[in-house]
Amino acid sequence: MMSTPTCRSRFRRRWAMRSRVGLACVGLVGLLAAGCSSASQDSAAQNKPANPKDLVLVQSIRSLSNPYHAEWAKGGEMFAASVGMPVQTLTDEGDSQRQLTQIKQVLASGKTVVLNADPNTTSDTQAIVRAVQDAGGFVVTQWNKPDGLTPAQVGNSWVAHIGFDGNTGGYQTAKALFGAMHNTGGIIALQGILDDVPAKERFNGLQKALTETPGVQMLDQQTAHWTRNEAFQVTQTLLAKHAGQVKGVWAANDDMALGAIEALRAVGLAGKTPIVGASDAVPEALQDIQAGDTGYVATVSTDAYWQGGAGLALAYQAATGKFNVATAAPGDRSFYGKEFLVTKENVADFIKTPTPADLAPDFANPLARNVGPLQ
C-alpha cells in the first residue's frame, strides 16, 4: 500500500511541508535573536539624557468620551505647552490590543518616546513597558499593574508607576455616606468590574467602614460594570427588591452613582436618599454635590489634570536627565498618588478648571504628591 505512487507523493509533500516549517522556525529564531540584540543595544544607550528636540510626548488613555480621561488629556496638554512641545493623544476605546499597537507604532517612529499611559488592564502593563524598554523610550504608567512586577525589574525605561489606594477612597466615601444617614439604615452598593483591582479595593474600604458602623447594614451589592446605564437598571431592580429599606447608595465610581440617582428620581427618592461615588470626581458629580438637591454627598478626586500633567512631566524629566531613574529610591518609582475626599465644604476647589499656573509646581516636582510606596 505504501508503495503506490499516490502515497509516495503524499509522503514527499508532507516531508517538504515539514522542512519548510522547520526553515521558517529557524528564520523566526534568527529574527528574534536579531531583535533581542538590537533591543539590548537600545537599552544600553538610553540612560544618556536625550535632547528635547529628539523627544516626542505621548499620552495613551482609554477614550475622550468620558470626562475623567478628557481632563487627563487636558492636563497632559498643559504640561506639553509648558515645555513648548506638542503632545500626541492615543485613545484605544477600551481595546487592549489597539493600545499596544498604537504605542508600538509611535515607538517605531525613530524618536525617543516620552509616554504617560493608563494601561487598559493589569495584564497590558507588562507588554507596554517592555515595548518601551526595547525601543529605549520613557514611560510612566498609572492605575493598573501586576502585583509582583516593579519598574526596577523591567529597567530604567519604566520610569515609575503611580497607583491610588482604593481602600482609602472607598472607606472615606462610605463614612461620609453613613454620616449623612446618621449612621443608621440599609444601603445598597454598586461595584465596578469585579476583578478590577480598584473595584476590589474600594469595596474593601466600604466593608471596613461597615464593620465600624454597626447601625448600617448592606442590603445588597451588585456590579454595574462602571457604567451609568447599567447602574440605572440595577438600582431600579434593587429598589423594588428592598422597597422602603434603602436609606443610602454607595457606588464605586461617579458614573454609576449618577445612574443610580436617575433610578432614585424615577421612584421619587432623589434628594431624599444620600449617595456617594468612590472615585473620579466627574463634573456632573461635583455640580450635584455643590447644588445639594440630588442627595449626592461625596466623591473622591485623584485629580485627573495632575495625573495627565505630572505623569508626563515625570517621564519627561527622566528623559532629559533631571530625574535620575538609575539612582531613584524604589519608593519614588512605584508609589501612591494623593487622593482627595470631595464634599460640599471643598467642592468649589475642584469645580474650577486648574490653570497652567496652578499646576506649574507639580510640573516642576511631579513627585510632590507621592504619599507612600505601593503595597
Partner: protein, 339 residues
C-alpha cells in the same frame, strides 16, 4: 393507495393542526412562551418581591428600550442579515437629541422635535447601512460594525469631554415619570411594537422581507426588488436605534456616548431567543416581544433571588443557551448549514 399518497396522508394526520400549521412548528413557537412562564413561576416562588407592582414597573422600564431596539432589529435578522451598529447609532442619537433640546451646552430648545431628529439620525445610519450593504455588496455585519464605530466617533466629538445635560422638563418626564406604576417609556415601546407588527403583517415591506430571508434567489426570480426591501429593513432598524438612543437620554438625563453599552448583545439575544432564526425567513416582532421579556425577567430575577453577582453573567449565559437549544430542537434536522 400508493405508498406516496399513504405517506402524504399520514403526514397530514399526524403533524398538521386543524388550522393547517404543522404541530412541530407550533411547539417551536410556544417554546419561548413556556420558558418565560416557567421563569416567572420559579422567580415568584423563590422571591416574594417578584410579583409586585414596583418590580413589574422596573422590568417594564428595562424592557422598554430593549423592545424598541429589538423590534427594529427583527426586520434585519428576518432578512438573514444583522445590525451591529446599534450602540453607535444610539450614542450619536443620544448626543444629537440632548444637544438640540434644552441643555446646559448651547441655547437650543427644540423640545420634542429633538427626539424626531434623533430618530432621523438613526434612519440616516440605516440608509447608509442599507446602501453600503446592497450597492457595494459588503456583508451586513461588516458594514454595520463599521458604521457603528463611526457613530461612536461622531458621538465622541459631540460629547467634547463632558456629557451635556438634558434640561427639558417635558422630555425628562418621559424618562422618569410613571403612570399607574408603569413608566411612560413603555407607552412608546408598545406603540413601536404595534407599528412593527402592522408593518410585518399588513405591508408589502413586511411580507417581502420574510420572502427574501426565506430564499433570496426565489425572491429575486419572482421579481422582488431585493435591494430596495433590504434597505427598508436597515432603515427600520436604524430608526429604532435612533429612537432608543433618545429614550435612554430622557431616562439618564444626559447625552452619553456609553448610553447603549451592552445593548447590542442584549438585542440580538432577545430577537433570537424569541424564536426569530438568524438564518432569516422565520420569526417576527411578537416572538421578539417574548424574547425581550425573557431577557429582562432573567436579569431582574437573578438579582431578586440573590444570585451571587460574580456568577450572574454565567447563569444568564447558561439559561440563554438552554432556551435556544430547547426552542431550536425541533428544527435541527431542517438546518442545512450552521454559520
Amino acid at each position: 393507495m400508493t405508498p406516496a399518497t399513504k405517506s402524504a396522508a399520514s403526514t397530514t394526520a399526524t403533524s398538521l393542526t386543524p388550522l393547517g400549521v404543522p404541530l412541530g412548528r407550533r411547539v417551536l413557537d410556544a417554546g419561548p412562551v413556556l420558558a418565560l412562564v416557567l421563569m416567572v413561576v420559579v422567580f415568584s416562588v423563590i422571591s416574594g418581591r417578584f410579583l409586585t407592582v414596583p418590580n413589574a414597573g422596573s422590568i417594564a422600564n428595562q424592557a422598554s428600550i430593549l423592545l424598541v431596539l429589538a423590534v427594529g432589529s427583527t426586520f434585519v435578522i428576518l432578512l438573514g442579515g444583522i445590525d451591529l451598529s446599534i450602540e453607535g447609532v444610539m450614542a450619536t442619537s443620544s448626543l444629537v437629541t440632548v444637544l438640540l433640546a434644552h441643555n446646559d451646552r448651547n441655547g437650543l430648545d427644540l423640545g420634542y422635535f429633538a427626539v424626531l431628529v434623533g430618530a432621523a439620525v438613526g434612519a440616516v445610519f440605516g440608509l447608509v447601512n442599507g446602501l453600503l450593504h446592497t450597492r457595494m455588496r459588503i456583508p451586513s455585519f461588516m458594514v454595520t460594525l463599521g458604521t457603528g464605530a463611526i457613530g461612536i466617533g461622531i458621538a465622541t466629538v459631540l460629547f467634547g469631554g463632558q456629557p451635556p445635560r438634558l434640561l427639558d422638563d417635558g422630555l425628562r418626564a418621559w424618562g422618569t415619570e410613571r403612570v399607574a406604576g408603569f413608566p411612560r417609556l413603555l407607552l412608546i415601546a408598545v406603540l413601536v411594537l404595534a407599528l412593527g407588527y402592522l408593518i410585518q403583517r399588513l405591508t408589502r415591506i413586511g411580507r417581502y422581507i420574510l420572502v427574501i430571508g426565506g430564499d433570496e434567489q426565489i425572491a429575486k426570480l419572482s421579481g422582488v426588488s431585493v435591494p430596495r426591501y433590504k434597505m427598508y429593513a436597515f432603515v427600520l432598524s436604524g430608526t429604532a436605534s435612533g429612537l432608543a438612543g433618545a429614550m435612554a437620554s430622557t431616562q439618564l438625563g444626559v447625552g452619553d456616548v456609553q448610553v447603549g453599552s451592552g445593548q447590542m448583545f442584549a438585542t440580538i439575544t432577545a430577537v433570537v431567543v424569541g424564536g426569530t432564526a438568524l438564518t432569516g425567513g422565520r420569526g417576527g416582532v411578537l416572538q421578539t416581544l417574548i424574547g425581550v421579556l425573557l431577557i429582562s425577567v432573567l436579569a431582574n430575577g437573578l438579582i431578586l433571588v440573590g444570585v451571587n453577582p460574580s456568577i450572574q453573567r454565567s447563569v444568564q449565559g447558561v439559561v440563554i443557551v438552554l432556551a435556544i437549544a430547547a426552542t431550536a430542537w425541533t428544527q435541527r434536522h431542517r438546518l442545512r448549514v450552521i454559520k
